[in-house]
């Protein structure tokens, strides 16, 4: 999950985060307790997170949040709609998760 979140941060460096199950909010990356996270909302920034909390899924907030779900070794990313920016984010996630360091074993 951390790899995917870091990949999103490449495009949204000031991203804010919310535990998808508990609703706990984290405005700084280092605050995120990844060991406890099965679902996470990654918002473009704190302002977008505030707006989602206030208004929910309104058209004006389209593509300002990525919903990540971890399950049995897979990561699912949910976005509003595909556009150039979200394509780049999804490609970054796929690239990061393809890093051999994450699966190679060393003696």
């Amino acid at each position: 999950m951390e790899v995917a979140v870091r990949a999103i941060r490449q495009h949204w460096p000031q991203a804010a985060f919310e535990n998808g199950l508990t609703g706990d909010r984290y405005d700084q990356f280092w605050e995120v307790p990844f060991a406890e996270i099965e679902e996470i909302f990654v918002y473009r920034d704190a302002k977008a997170a505030d707006a989602w909390e206030e208004h929910g899924a309104i058209p004006e907030l389209s593509n300002t949040m990525v919903h990540l779900l971890a399950d049995d070794g897979t990561i699912t990313a949910v976005i509003d709609e595909r556009d150039a920016n979200t394509e780049q984010i999804l490609e970054a996630i796929a690239s990061g998760l393809g890093d051999p360091i994450l699966c190679l074993e060393v003696a």
């Binding site: 951390e2 790899v3 870091r6 990949a7 941060r9 490449q10 495009h11 460096p13 000031q14 991203a15 700084q28 990356f29 280092w30 307790p33 990844f34 060991a35 406890e36 780049q88 490609e91 970054a92 690239s95 990061g96 393809g98 890093d99 360091i101 994450l102 699966c103 190679l104 074993e105 060393v106 003696a107």
Partner: protein
């Protein structure tokens, strides 16, 4: 979720017990690691003063409880380098600092230098982290790689160590 209450418990829970058991003598491992953490903490305080990361034993154990995989990478680094400056760099990457620049200079039998610049999400740079110890190259095996609009080093990950 893990629930260690000491550095030794965190190390053993993480599967990095070799840090203790391969130390000679093993009973001196924890005092040595505590000293190393204190030295890293001191460098952090020199560099960042009031904003220095908390690298007390208690803080490391608490962070291990919150992010065991992340801290496992740091624990592996404790066994991989004696450079307190580079250990501080590792901790800063774990905190979310990004790798902005790496300059590596090597000439067989003559020279090794690695110089790393980290920056925050807000573009603030740490003073460069520099090492002339070739063994510190091992740390770079842990850095994550991705491509997104160009090459990116990001993140610091534990290696999956095969059980002997």
């Amino acid at each position: 979720m893990p629930n260690p209450t000491s550095l030794e418990e965190a190390i053993r829970h993480s599967g990095e017990g070799w840090l203790i058991d391969s130390f000679a003598p093993p009973e001196e491992a924890i005092p040595y690691l505590r000293q190393t953490l204190q030295a890293v903490r001191a460098i952090g305080q020199q560099r960042f003063e009031g904003n220095a990361p908390d690298l007390s034993e208690k803080a490391v154990v608490q962070e291990y409880i919150r992010n065991p995989l992340r801290v496992r990478g740091f624990l592996q680094s404790l066994g991989g380098t004696r450079s307190t400056e580079m250990l501080l760099m590792v901790w800063r990457i774990l905190q979310g600092m990004e790798v902005k620049d790496i300059q590596l200079s090597y000439r067989k039998r003559e020279q090794f230098e690695v110089r790393v610049v980290l920056e925050s999400a807000y573009g603030e740079e740490d003073p460069p982290y520099v090492s002339n110890n070739i063994h510190d190259f091992v740390l770079f095996r842990h850095i994550g790689i991705l491509e997104s609009g160009g090459p990116i080093f990001d993140g610091f990950y534990a290696l999956r160590v095969r059980e002997a």
